[in-house]
Amino acid sequence: MVNYDSGANHRETPQTGFLSRYVFSTRHKTIGLNYLWLALFSVFLGMAMSLLIRIQLVWPGAHLPLLSSLGNSPDRFAALTTLHGSLMVFLVLTAAPQAGFGNYFLPLQIGAREVAFPSLNLLAFWATVASFVGLTGAFLISSQSSITLWIVSVAIFCAASLLNALNFSVTTIDLRAEGMSLPRMPITVWAWFLNAILGMLIFSILLAACACLLSDRLWSTHFFPSLNFIANQPASVVANAVPVLWQRLFWFFAQAEVYVAMLPCFGLTTHLISTFSRKPVWKERLVVLALCGVGLFGFCVWGQHMFSSGMNPFSPLAFSLLASSLGLPAAILLASWLGTLWKARVQLNTAMLFALGFISLFLSGGLSGIFLVRHDLAAAAVSDDFVTGHFHLVMGVAATFAILGALFFWFPKLFGRRLNEPLGKLHFWITFAGVYCVFMPMHWLGLIAHSRVSPGSPLASVAAAGSAIRTFITVAILLTVFAQGLFLINFLWSLIRGEKAGECNPWRATTLEWSVPSPPPTDDFGLSDPVVYRGAYEFSLTDVAEDFVPQYLAPEQSAKARESGE
């Protein structure tokens, strides 16, 4: 039972002091912003890690600041990749689009003043911070206990995500403003909502797996067969027993985790494309169904990774079919984006560029995914580099593009100022070219790696080019990472000196968050509760003065506006 006295009295008693205003505030906007700050810090930390990884790969003897001082060993390298992965996946890709933007804009977009359980929300945020500290700390203490600390941190993150997911789904179900029926919900809200449902199912599973693993480490239980036990068993038992259970539980989570990161990004992209094409979302209902399909299939394809890694679960064919069937909702989404763009007067600002970049990356990453889905091809083609390239392109970079697009879009609402457009566009183009230069050659490396199996083949000479490709990748990643400095400068400068957004609705968008001042007041909607009169994407209507009709505009008002416009 939640103690619920906080929300109601906030209006009357303005909070003072840094702690109560920023640190222990239960306001959804403060918590959402805090998540975004945390993600921003993590993404730069994670990017520094990836730089170290690439330098280590190309110049293994190089003296690196963090790596050398802590012992330049394979163990440290593994720890480095783990930290890079866990920071990026958990604190950036999972937390930023869902908990960050979601906390800030989900209540605003559905006309709720608060999430359903604000205290739980605050708890979830600080648990996330604790898990961030734990994950980073696990890297710094280089001993056996660091792995235990890492598992504890992941478990805490799971618990936080569960609380967050519970909050989001209940908020969407029960706290929508008057008139905000399900078909009128913006696609972003649909994506956050479906993602919360998906998250609630899969983070429980990872939590259970973590609990078992932790108990194995701390109390030497036998959930996952220990290495001592394995060593004493006949070979046939060993081959079967070691990873089956952990892999099953872990991939059950991890495959769906990809969609947990991607679902809100689908929503954000759809929203941006529609707004800046000045056209309604093409086949909006179908898009919502496709998002449901992504959630459902994403939950079901946990077995897919097991045959890609050479295992044989009970039915590779079934999983292969399921994984391929994910192509269907993906194709629907793609068709809708292209349909929305078709013959549209596209406004090519930075937010839109990032949304288009997302589509491009998602498409090219998805094409290489087809190789991994076919289980006969997967066994032949999969090597680490191919998977790394595919995974980064489709999940890591694409999702980051959606996050950046959303940031450029909502920055005026968040801070009342705009990000600098020319600098943003420059940052976009360098990053866009950069990530292709990094991850496309990585696919080739993966394919070349397998040609080495037969030295007589003509491909063997190509294989020699491998090290040159590796160097190219490392140089490209250096440039890409430094280009992010442009973004950081733009972000910090605009925060203080950026052009004022001025009006409530600078993008002439339709959803409810644009009806309130920027940044929104503490109680979001002021004295009167918002009322919603129409769908979320009413652009380019023929009989209205403007080319859009916001959701909060009553039919009488739009008629009045039309008369005054004529």
Binding site: A8, A208, S528, E546
Partner: protein, 226 residues
């Protein structure tokens, strides 16, 4: 710009909403307390709808169920793939515990029936009995652990015992939360809060019955799956 002027305008036009043009079949927010003066949809300080607690507990139950299903599937897979599985002989006290827990579900429902008849003292009495039975169950589980330890069956003995301990421990922790919820409903004054006492009791009862059913399922799994 319509965007800049919409907020004050809404109040002027809301009275026409009943005409049904754009409103659609959306129920007004329950408990808003502004049904009488249809003129302005100003926000009021009244209690919000308790729906969120019903939805919250339902989704929470699904999530907890998923947690235990992951453990259960791990149990079945682990049992099938290894040669070091030595079944746990369930201590007989578990059956007594189960009886106590099932009985607590009945007393809980009786308590809620007294509450609906506005018989507050009867409600409190039965509610205390329910909480006591829950505590009894937890103590019984500890006794079962002690008996297993006396037999030399520890957490680290073999996979079957590991699973027995994690199932009972995870369920016990969740049930402890249930006992806390029961105590909260008993102690809290519901005069000036967002949920009324019957609502709080109902939500606590959902969780309690779920814990009850979950235990029966886990016991069946442990008994049949040994």
């Amino acid at each position: 710009m319509p965007g800049t002027t919409a907020v004050p305008d809404i109040e002027l036009v809301v009275e026409d909403l009943g005409g049904g043009g754009g409103g659609g079949p959306t129920p007004p927010p329950a408990g808003g307390g502004d049904g009488d003066d249809g003129n302005k949809r100003r926000r009021t300080g009244g209690p919000p709808s308790p729906n969120r607690y019903y939805t919250g507990i339902a989704l929470g139950i699904v999530s907890i169920l998923m947690f235990f299903m992951a453990l259960a599937s791990a149990f079945l897979v682990r049992r099938g793939t290894s040669g070091d599985w030595i079944p746990v002989h369930l201590p007989p006290v578990l059956w007594l515990n189960t009886l106590a827990l099932i009985a607590s579900s009945f007393t809980l429902e009786r308590a809620r029936r007294s509450l609906s008849r506005l018989d507050l003292s009867g409600f409190r009495k039965l509610w205390i009995v329910t909480t006591g039975l829950g505590a009894l169950f937890l103590i019984g589980q500890l006794v079962a652990w002690r008996q297993l330890v006396a037999q030399g069956v520890f957490m680290a003995s073999n996979p079957a015992s590991s699973f027995f301990y994690i199932f009972t421990a995870a369920h016990g922790l969740h049930l402890l939360g249930g006992v806390a919820a029961l105590l909260y409903v008993l102690v809290r004054k519901f005069d000036n809060t967002r949920v009324a006492l019957p609502t709080a009791a109902e939500i606590a009862s959902y969780y309690w019955h779920f814990m009850d059913g979950l235990w029966v399922f886990l016991l069946a799994l442990l008994y049949l799956g040994k």
